[in-house]
């Protein structure tokens, strides 16, 4: 069996950041296992710009952002195994993987970082009725076909879901000569950023049909059209609003799910709301020495935040390996459970050690659009930190940072993150 100090599973932005940060913190033998033929994860196919604004202060494209980290991985002599699929990990940190050169490999790891990212929801997850013709793709698959493989998936396109990937693909397909007929969004508000609504839809006069969904799919060999309908406030289609839209391609941009098959097999505790592992402020999962970062924990909005999350995992994996300092924190631990309160859907990390040595930033997503609200962190029946927000939407993660002094003084073992003085707009 091979041995390594740190095995990083996944070579996207989270995995590369974790590996680089661990190496910089003195971890000698770091291996990245990546199933694709190149590092970068989803970034190489995200050829649009806007990445890196927070981290580098400039607007990079996805491939450029990836390139900066690939260079760092090379400079630090981090071992990278491409075209390698991880089959299994155990609680005692044995990683089993396979590729066509080495065959089956087993690696005994001092620590593991999970950075497998997430996967798109498909037609099957939505249960859209109708026939099963070709021409129905997830937006990310279409993006790969257009930007990497050099194929156009179709000519007349309907997009379901107004998340950022769907909006980006509306522009991309239009630039490459397709006619994008409309983007349908089930919710009464768009899922993606304003900037993408303006620059991807309005620039090309593509209609955005809010409160609409696809209720039927037509065509035998190839998609011939879809039936769309208005939905009521519960998201149910309204019967007499059906409308046929002719198209040969349907792109689905209807959400992402963290990819945690191997985490589940290793009995790592998974949060039902985020579909990712429970993590503490060190990005450590319920299994000691196994860390998780990026979109495998929860779906981030910005790659800059994924990278920062990867740094946390890498730094703490290094600390775990070197000093077992994680253990001393835990030994005297006053473990605080972090919970979502009113107006908040989920909070990360779910656990914080009251005696942790650094300030802790709690990231969370709200459950609707709110204007002029206070974000509050509560413990021991009082507000310990509050931040005013003019607007907060489910499309953008919010965060609140608690100092180590605040954490140390908490006695009840719980922190709640919530919104107060709610004035809900729209729904």
């Amino acid at each position: 069996m091979r041995e390594a100090d740190l095995v990083v599973i996944g070579g996207g932005p989270a995995g590369m950041a974790a590996a680089v940060e661990a190496a910089r913190n003195g971890v000698e033998k770091v291996i990245i296992l990546e199933r694709d033929h190149t590092l970068g994860g989803i970034l190489p196919q995200c050829i649009h710009n806007g990445f890196g604004l927070h981290l580098f202060g400039e607007e990079l494209t996805g491939p450029e952002y990836a390139d900066r980290f690939i260079k760092q991985v090379e400079e630090l002599n981090i071992d990278v195994k491409l075209n390698t699929m991880v089959l299994d990990i155990t609680q005692s940190r044995i990683v089993t993987a396979v590729n066509s050169q080495d065959g089956l490999i087993k690696i005994k790891a001092g620590a593991i970082v999970l950075a497998m990212g997430c996967r798109e929801r498909t037609r099957g997850a939505l249960n859209i009725p109708g026939t099963r013709p070709s021409g129905i793709y997830t937006a990310g698959t279409a993006q790969r076909l257009v930007n990497i493989e050099g194929y156009m998936p179709g000519k007349k396109v309907v997009i379901l879901g107004s998340g950022d990937i769907g909006l980006i693909m509306a522009r991309r397909m239009t630039l490459e000569g397709a006619q994008v007929k409309m983007v349908c969004e089930l919710m009464p508000y768009p899922g993606g950023l304003n900037r993408n609504i303006v620059q991807c839809l309005k620039d090309f006069d593509i209609p955005l049909r809010l409160g609409h969904t696809v209720v039927n799919i037509h065509g035998k060999a190839r998609l011939e059209g879809v039936t769309i309908a208005k939905v009521d406030e519960k998201g149910k289609a309204i019967a007499d609003t059906h409308e046929f839209v002719e198209c040969d391609t349907l792109l689905l941009s209807v959400g992402l799910i963290p990819e945690n098959e191997i985490s589940r097999d290793a009995s790592i505790t998974i949060d039902d709301v985020t579909a990712g592992p429970f993590v503490n402020e060190s990005a450590e999962t319920s299994v000691p020495g196994i860390f998780a970062c990026g979109n495998v924990v929860y779906v981030h909005d910005l790659v800059d935040n994924v990278t920062n999350n990867g740094y946390i995992a890498g730094r703490n994996a290094a600390r775990y390996l070197k000093e077992r300092a994680g253990d001393t924190v835990k030994a005297n631990a006053n473990i605080l459970q972090v919970r979502p309160g009113q107006g908040v859907r989920c909070v990360i990390p779910q656990l914080v050690h009251g005696n942790c040595p650094e300030d802790v930033t709690l990231s969370f997503r709200v459950d609707g659009i709110y204007r002029d609200v206070m974000i509050e962190a509560k413990a021991d029946n009082q507000v310990i930190k509050s931040v005013k927000k003019r607007i907060t939407t489910p499309g953008e993660m919010e965060s609140i940072t608690l100092s180590r002094e605040m954490l140390q003084s908490i006695e009840s073992g719980k922190i709640e993150v919530c919104l107060s003085s709610l004035e809900r707009k729209g729904d």
Binding site: I47, E64, G150, L175, D203, R390, I391
Partner: protein, 121 residues
């Protein structure tokens, strides 16, 4: 005759609805609906000279993959986007290509160069 343009501000998540009143010579008479200075300047640029960076791909010859990603190194006038795409889609380059390589200089006399954003071997 004056004209009125409705815009959504993209500066922050508030997404203010901006209204811009322009005179016959396109000079701005009045901007309303913004709630900050940044919104005001967004409305000015967007009405007088809207510009966009194009990000797309060009074909490559001799590579493992058929395409390499490219961008204009400066924003170009919004109205020239489709015209630029026609030119870009006729380009074919030989490998190797590195991030930052210039693929085409001064596209459509805009002063912007087309540069590679990816690597191809």
């Amino acid at each position: 005759m004056s004209k009125n343009t409705e815009l959504t501000c993209i500066v922050c998540p508030l997404g203010c609805k901006l209204s811009v009143l322009q005179g016959e010579d396109d000079s701005i008479i009045e901007i309303s609906g913004h709630s900050c200075k940044r919104g005001l300047s967004y409305a000015q640029t967007e009405c007088i000279n809207p510009e966009r960076v194009i990000t797309t791909t060009v074909r490559i010859r001799g590579g493992q993959m058929p395409l390499v990603s490219v961008k204009t190194d400066k924003p170009i006038p919004k109205t020239l986007m489709m015209k630029c795409m026609k030119i870009i889609n006729r380009i074919e380059v030989m490998v190797p290509v590195k991030v930052g390589d210039t693929i085409l200089e001064n596209i459509l006399e805009t002063g912007a160069n087309l540069v590679a954003t990816g690597n191809a071997t």
